[in-house]
């Protein structure tokens, strides 16, 4: 099973698309979700997701709620999660990057989890 699929969950299509383009060029397969509900659809359909990059503030199922749902699932709760947010909040001990992260650091982090 490929470990190099990254699920990007962010309601801002511009940010999501740019991130997907950049990660795609770096050799990752990416999936995009505009909210938690779409993320769950991808998780149901794709067993190869190696990392979830998660925005918190989203309509519908937001990042906090999605995290709660992932924790209740036997397999999804084991998928590494990195919060990528413009706000102040976080998800407890879950690693957190600002949306102003340097590209090199972002790629390093993604690489760490998808190796």
């Amino acid at each position: 099973v490929s470990r190099r699929t990254v699920l990007i969950v962010d309601d801002d299509q511009d940010f999501r698309g740019t991130l997907s383009e950049v990660l795609g060029a770096a050799g990752y397969r990416t999936l995009e979700a505009g909210d938690g509900a779409q993320a769950l659809v991808h998780l149901e359909a794709d067993g190869a997701i190696g990392l979830i990059l998660l925005d918190l503030m989203m309509p519908g199922i937001n990042g906090w709620e999605l995290h709660r749902q992932l924790l209740q699932h036997e397999h999804w709760s084991t998928i590494p999660l990195v919060v990528l947010t413009a706000g102040e909040g976080g998800l407890g001990d879950i690693p957190r990057l600002s949306k102003l992260v340097e590209l090199a650091e972002l790629l390093r982090t993604v690489d760490e989890y998808c190796r």
Partner: protein, 357 residues
């Protein structure tokens, strides 16, 4: 005829500032005026002294903890032997009301001896609430800026990395990157205009131009552009408009009204189609934007037109809470009005009517 002492007593009692006086050093009660009782929600107690003020008066800090007795204005003025100002006091009144208070505690001297402390209490509840709104706004604005700046920064860093890698790139590819970057810069530009509008509107500095405008064409232009404005997230848009609707107005401000209504509908429309209709009855132009999204509860209908407000949790919907307020301000300056029709869960229709001839 009142004597001087009676006049002074009457004036002191009627001051719009709470005044409370106690004897030094133990803090036995001497005097309080009417405003003191109004702020505290209770009359002054003559049975409490220094070391026991917090509980009977409900004096707390901003975190809701009992205010430390050693930090009370009375005690601080005794120690400092000078006027002290304390503004982090919150009175938890017995009627449930919370009052933010600023206290000026001033020692009175009899010769060298500090004989009394006079404390003036000011109700600063509104001031504190305004500060909180401002802080929330700054935090929301920084959040709003971070996403497009983050996307732009990522794109530019990536472009540099690609270009520096020595691999050959086609003209089309580089143009594509630059166009995406330009879209992101434009989005930031619009955001900064919105931020500026706050001070423009508040200080009454929005001036409307009167240029020839074809409202139908303007509407079609905005609809064509809105997908870019929303970062590519626009739902299907159904437009019903006459071929032409010429008139005179401020085209940029009208553009802003339409853009805000559409992005609002897209934001709260849960991805479902949005209908837009434009009509004219000879006097008024009517633009209606209807979504099938989360809707607006009756209780929120007034509030959503206030600045920094929105009907739903900020954990779910980002934004500054300014869109509809700006729409309302512009439309009322155009001598028009706004009509709202919505049920929670059944979407919302917002119509704008402006004089159009």
């Amino acid at each position: 005829m009142l004597d001087d002492a009676e006049i002074i007593a009457a004036v002191a009692n009627d001051l719009p500032v709470g005044v409370w006086v106690a004897r030094a050093p133990a803090g036995e009660f001497v005097y309080a005026n009417r405003a003191f009782s109004e702020i505290m929600g209770m009359g002054a107690r003559d049975d409490v002294v220094a070391g026991g003020y917090a509980e009977p008066y409900g004096i707390c800090d901003r975190a809701g903890r009992p205010y430390p007795e050693a930090q009370m204005p009375f005690v601080r003025a005794l120690v400092a032997r000078a006027t002290v100002v304390v503004d982090d006091i919150v009175i938890h009144r017995s009627d449930g009301k919370r009052v933010n208070v600023r206290a000026h505690a001033r020692p009175l001297f009899h010769g060298d001896e500090l004989s009394h402390v006079v404390i003036a209490f000011f109700d600063i509840t509104r001031e504190v609430a305004a500060e909180r709104v401002r802080d929330d706004f700054i935090s929301a604005a920084s959040h709003e800026l971070k996403t497009p700046i983050g996307a732009l920064q990522m794109r530019v860093q990536w472009m540099l990395q690609q270009l520096g890698g020595g691999a050959p790139f086609g003209h089309t590819q580089v143009v594509g990157w630059a166009e995406a970057a330009l879209r992101q810069v434009r989005r930031l530009g619009r955001l900064s205009e919105t931020l500026l509008d706050v001070s423009r509107i508040r200080s009454g500095r929005i001036e409307l131009r009167r240029d020839p405008v074809d409202l139908a064409q303007l509407l079609r232009d905005v609809v064509a552009r809105v997908d870019d404005d929303l970062g590519g997230a626009a739902p299907p848009l159904h437009l019903e408009a006459p071929e032409r609707l010429p008139g005179h107005a401020d085209a940029l401000r009208l553009d802003q009204v339409i853009t805000n209504l559409l992005s609002n509908a897209a934001k709260y429309g849960q991805g479902r189609p949005i209908s837009i209709s434009l009509s004219h009855d000879g006097k008024l132009a009517r633009l209606e934007v209807r979504d099938s999204g989360v809707g607006i509860a009756a209780a929120d209908r007034e509030r959503i037109f206030q600045p920094f407000e929105r009907a739903v949790s900020p954990d779910s919907y980002a934004g500054l809470g300014l869109g509809l307020w700006i729409v309302q301000e512009i439309v009322s300056r155009m001598h028009g009005h706004i009509l709202l029709d919505s049920q929670p869960g059944a979407g919302a229709a917002i119509a704008v009517e402006v004089p159009w001839q």
